[in-house]
């Protein structure tokens, strides 16, 4: 069986066993997004205006939250070292892990965000674009978060350090993603934003896995 | 010379607080950084001598 497929199946199986843990980021997303109406006020017009940014930022934070521990359990039980010694390319195994993590944490966000969008009184077209941008964006966040997790492997500082490292790098995705939704809200075409977001996805998929592999070697060797 | 008097110089056309605030802050921060670095260097030398 090819390397990434084996890792993917293993991680999915592990996630299925700890279903609550896997769904925690989703819970965080709902709670965090839900705080905004409480903090800002229930006016529908206001909520509709801030919805693209708020939902994208909350999704960004939720995606980051889940990925900080991506390599931690493998590091603790020694399977990470096994992966480094395996005959398969480390990049391939990393890809399998990140893909599994996206399926369990990123994809649920893509599904949940439209429901929260309704609570923010978003138009149907905006909700559609929101889902699309999160579909393109959450993998980008997955790659960046995995890089942060690899660099901070075994450190006590935890999630806050990963956030500080990774969030500046996630700014372009946030700008294009939230911007696309805002564009649709204003009646403009989101095509430019979405193209740029797509380009970011392609670029990060081609480049970041290698950085993650290098980071793992730095952290473990 | 640009300034008719010391008062005019300090007043900076009404923007004295901002201009002098910027300069004092900047020079202060840079001087503090230099001081901390020299202190770090001195400490490292003392540790090395031991």
């Amino acid at each position: 069986m090819s390397g990434w497929r084996a890792v993917l199946r293993r991680d999915l199986r592990l996630a299925a066993r700890r279903r609550i843990e896997a769904l925690l980021p989703l819970g965080f997303f709902v709670v965090a997004a839900g705080l905004f109406p409480l903090g800002v006020g229930p006016e529908r017009e206001t909520l509709r205006q801030i919805a693209p940014g708020v939902l994208w930022v909350c999704a960004l934070l939720a995606a980051m939250l889940s990925v900080t521990t991506l390599f931690a359990s493998d590091h603790q039980d020694g399977s990470l070292e096994q992966m480094l010694l395996a005959p398969h390319a480390l990049v391939e195994l990393v890809a399998g892990k990140v893909l599994a993590q996206w399926l369990t944490s990123g994809l649920p966000l893509v599904v949940a965000a439209p429901l929260i969008g309704v609570a923010f009184d978003m138009h149907a077209a905006s909700i559609g674009v929101l889902a699309l941008t999160l579909l393109l964006g959450t993998p980008i966040l997955g790659w960046l978060g995995a890089l942060g997790a690899a660099l901070t492997l075994g450190l006590r500082s935890g999630a806050a350090l990963v956030f500080l490292i990774v969030l500046p790098l996630a700014v372009p995705a946030l700008i294009f993603g939230a911007g696309a939704v805002a564009a649709v809200d204003s009646g403009l075409s989101p095509r430019g934003h979405i193209s740029l977001l797509g380009a970011l996805l392609i670029a990060s998929t081609m480049g970041v896995p290698f950085a993650i592999a290098a980071a793992l070697r730095i952290s473990v060797d | 010379m640009n300034w008719p008097s010391l008062e005019a110089f300090l007043y900076m056309g009404g923007h004295g607080l901002y201009v002098w605030g910027s300069y004092v802050l900047t020079i202060g921060l840079l001087a503090a950084e230099a001081w901390f670095v020299l202190r770090r260097q001195r400490r490292a030398q003392q540790e090395g001598a031991r």
Partner: protein, 252 residues
């Protein structure tokens, strides 16, 4: 290349063209760097203070008042050099960190560590002076224009680098992890800058750049160059001093 068993000696010395290489490897050896930097330090401080003094003289006593912004524009003489240095130092840091990681050169990694706090400080100075300049000119303490926002993200990149390298105890891992992060950051800077520009032009609220430079009289430009030279020399001085301290600390 560094001979790891004997940190003072360089294996490049045995290759052809060694004499020319020897002049460069001098910088690769921590003890030699220590001595050389120590000799240069007084001169660097002198240049920093002298060009700073002359630059400030030009800036305050020769350069005229700006027609639109009045006297508040004089903040430009520290704001712009600080911003330039903040960007330059990050690129130099990424370069040396990468060099240290890929070629396993210890001195290069020490340069990178020494550069980070100074670069972060210049970024902070650029942001604060930009804010103080923006207030009398545009009425608000903070404007989310493209350049200030990019500068703010640059500060976060510095802080991330410093936080990561400080969090890792083992020096080799800290240096290499930092190098990877700095490289990723450096590659991302054009992307981040472009996206922030994009973001800013779409949200029409902040179309005016809060720190638009006035039309440059020659005297203003001279003062600006002198202050930039001063900041350059200062950076060399502080970074060399810090690197010397790091050389001693890592010897223990």
């Amino acid at each position: 290349m560094q001979d790891r068993a004997h940190p003072g000696r360089s294996t490049l010395a045995s290759l052809p063209g060694a004499e020319a290489a020897g002049r460069w490897t001098r910088f690769a050896s921590p003890p030699r760097f220590y001595a050389l930097a120590g000799a240069w330090l007084p001169w660097l401080w002198a240049i920093a203070l002298a060009s700073g003094a002359i630059g400030l003289y030009f800036g305050f006593f020769v350069a005229p008042t700006d027609a639109q912004q009045g006297e508040s524009y004089r903040i430009i003489f520290i704001h712009v050099p600080a911003a330039w240095m903040s960007m330059l130092v990050y690129l130099v840091l990424a370069f040396w960190a990468a060099w240290g990681w890929i070629l396993n050169a210890r001195m290069a990694s020490m340069y990178a560590r020494a550069l980070a706090p100074t670069g972060a400080l210049f970024t902070l100075i650029a942001l604060v002076t930009g804010s103080l300049w923006g207030r009398p000119t545009w009425g608000t303490w903070w404007v989310w224009d493209a350049r200030i926002t990019s500068e703010f993200i640059l500060l976060l990149l510095y802080l991330g680098y410093i936080a990561l390298t400080e969090a890792i105890d083992e020096p080799r891992r800290a240096a290499n992890a930092g190098a990877l992060l700095a490289l990723v950051g450096a590659i991302n800077i054009p992307i981040i800058y472009f996206s922030v520009q994009w973001w800013n032009t779409l949200h029409q609220g902040a179309t005016i750049s809060a720190t638009a430079a006035p039309k440059m009289a020659a005297t203003m430009f001279t003062a600006l160059l002198l202050m930039t030279a001063s900041f350059w020399a200062y950076t060399f001085a502080v970074v060399f001093a810090r690197a010397r301290a790091i050389v001693l600390e890592e010897r223990r």
